[in-house]
């Protein structure tokens, strides 16, 4: 292929072409250049070293025939777009780990993972036409490893955390731990313990009407009201999507009903979900208390849940207590 001559710019000191060639050859990234038909026109030292294929073995041949492991259909299309649109293209290790599979690039510190690569496809335009495309291959294995370590650390943190990300109240895992502890303590010191279970009425409708962001605000609103209307010694947790559980140590069901009603009323007041989006939501509440015959924590939660269900059945926006005598719920 006859390459167009590079015009020298008059008056400027010029790096001799020979030195530019050395730069391209020795640079610490991979650079190869292909013609529209897939013929390899240039192959630098980085690629020679990492693929153990010399320029003599690669240049002049077809890229896809020489490297059968390359994703041919995808790569052909990618290059075709660059030739046609005369614009850059890119790939990232985050979506495509590598273009050329290169292993053992770090014999000392590297593990068994192949090199991770970011690639840039650069159209070489002369006289309005793309004469060739250069592919620049950058080793980003360090970034990949940092990211992996970061992801693992974050996962561990999340598992250990006690809090719900959206509302800041405790999460379900913590609740279940604390419930066990509180039951034991209540039993040992012969104290009362009540449980509130409450969720947002018609939550799906809120989401569908206003979107998930407003739905999130509604959940936050309930959590905020729970924390502010209940006592400091009470324990509030987000149990599910729009569902909460509160533990009231030292409180009998009668007192818990009053607290629940205060909460219900506070939530029902209209509030600003987002700027210029006023919202009005209600909650249904189920209340139960620890009894000598309460077999396990699970039972307490099941009873509160049953009472919550009764609130729903009775029309929502209300508080219902679990009645152990009838093994069902009354207001």
């Amino acid at each position: 292929m006859a390459l167009p001559p590079v015009e020298p710019q008059p008056g400027l000191p010029r790096l001799p072409i020979a030195l530019l060639t050395i730069l391209v050859d020795r640079i610490n990234v991979g650079i190869l250049t292909v013609a529209a038909d897939g013929t390899v026109l240039q192959w630098n030292r980085f690629l020679h070293a990492h693929t153990r294929l010399s320029p003599e073995e690669v240049i002049g041949g077809n890229l896809y025939e020489r490297f059968s492991a390359l994703p041919r259909a995808w790569l052909e299309q990618k290059l075709r777009r660059v030739f046609l649109l005369k614009t850059f293209a890119f790939t990232s290790w985050r979506q495509r780990p590598y273009l050329f599979r290169i292993e053992d690039h770090r014999p000392l510190t590297g593990g068994s993972e192949p090199m991770r690569q970011d690639c840039a496809f650069i159209p070489l335009v002369h006289d309005g036409e793309v004469r060739a495309v250069s592919i620049v291959i950058i080793d980003v294995t360090d970034t990949y490893e940092s990211q992996t370590r970061l992801d693992e650390t974050l996962a561990t943190l999340a598992a250990q955390s006690e809090r719900d990300g959206l509302t800041g109240v405790y999460n379900r895992r913590k609740l279940e731990q604390v419930l066990e502890t509180e039951i034991q303590r209540a039993r040992r010191y012969r104290q009362e313990l009540s449980v509130l279970m409450f969720d947002i009425d018609h939550f799906k409708r809120v989401n569908d009407t206003h979107g998930h962001l407003v739905g999130d605000e509604a959940i936050r609103h309930v959590a905020t009201k729970a924390v502010s209307t209940l006592r400091a010694t009470d324990f509030v947790a987000r149990y599910g999507g729009e569902e909460f559980v509160a533990l009231l140590p030292g409180e009998a069901v009668s007192g818990a009903l009053i607290a629940a009603e205060r909460l219900r009323e506070a939530v029902a007041k209209p509030f600003a979900a987002l700027v210029e989006i006023p919202l009005s939501i209600t909650i249904s509440v189920g209340v139960t208390g620890l009894r000598p015959d309460t077999a396990a924590a699970k039972m307490l939660l099941a009873e509160a849940d049953q009472a919550l269900y009764a609130s729903k059945q009775a029309g929502r926006d209300r508080v219902t207590a679990f009645d152990p005598l009838t093994a069902s719920a009354v207001h």
């Binding site: 777009r81 649109l85 005369k86 614009t87 850059f88 890119f90 790939t91 979506q95 840039a120 650069i122």
Partner: protein
């Protein structure tokens, strides 16, 4: 608002240039994605309004699943571009004939992200090159990157843009076969770049008017 650097006449010319660039990009994407792709530019705006969210006016979109990609460019003029897609883009990309690894197969999540970045790269490239090429200027690009999450996009859209930048907003109607979704491209150009574009447009228009 400070005097816009580009006059309405120049903006009109710019819109035509971008439209032509998009036409070529649409044809190339059509070949790649295996179906009709329409990229139309109903409007172009210059603004230095401080509220980026107002610039994009994404309130009416399927905001739950906004997707956004940003990409810097440099050369004869420089700046950064951002493209925002409405949420339906992923549903549309999920089963594109031209991109699927195996015929009939659905794209994996990584493949979808790759397609999205590629799409953004092509549209932004068409926009910026569409302006640069007819003006005989050369521009290079850095890699596109996705805004990681909905909250990142919101945070970015709600902060103030620097007062001395003027931004070019290009509305792009994206049609993929029978499906269509919206996108908006913001080409953020510092003053000296806009002035350079203005000068190049003057040369172009004067050249056409003469003779």
């Amino acid at each position: 608002m400070t005097t816009p650097i580009l006059s309405p006449e120049k903006l009109d010319a710019l819109q035509e240039l971008v439209n032509i660039g998009m036409g070529t990009a649409g044809a190339a994407l059509a070949e790649a994605l295996g179906g009709f792709v329409g990229l139309a530019v109903p409007g172009i705006d210059l603004t230095n309004r401080l509220n980026v969210a107002a610039l994009f006016d994404v309130g009416s979109w399927a905001e739950d699943e906004l997707e956004a990609v940003h990409q810097p460019f440099f050369g004869a003029f420089m700046g950064e571009s951002m493209i925002v897609f409405d949420g339906r883009v992923h549903a549309h990309l999920a089963n594109l004939p031209g991109y699927a690894v195996a015929p009939g197969a659905e794209l994996s999540s990584a493949e979808q992200q790759e397609v999205l970045l590629d799409l953004a790269n092509v549209v932004i490239g068409a926009c910026v090159n569409g302006i640069a090429e007819p003006l005989q200027e050369i521009v290079s690009f850095a890699a596109p990157a996705r805004f990681g999450s909905r909250s990142e996009i919101r945070t970015f859209l709600s902060r103030d843009a620097a007062a001395w930048h003027q931004g070019l907003i290009v509305n792009v109607d994206f049609k993929l076969e029978a499906r269509s979704f919206l996108s908006r491209v913001l080409v953020f150009l510092p003053e000296h770049s806009l002035q350079r574009i203005d000068a190049a447009l003057t040369r172009l228009l004067d050249g056409l008017a003469a003779g």
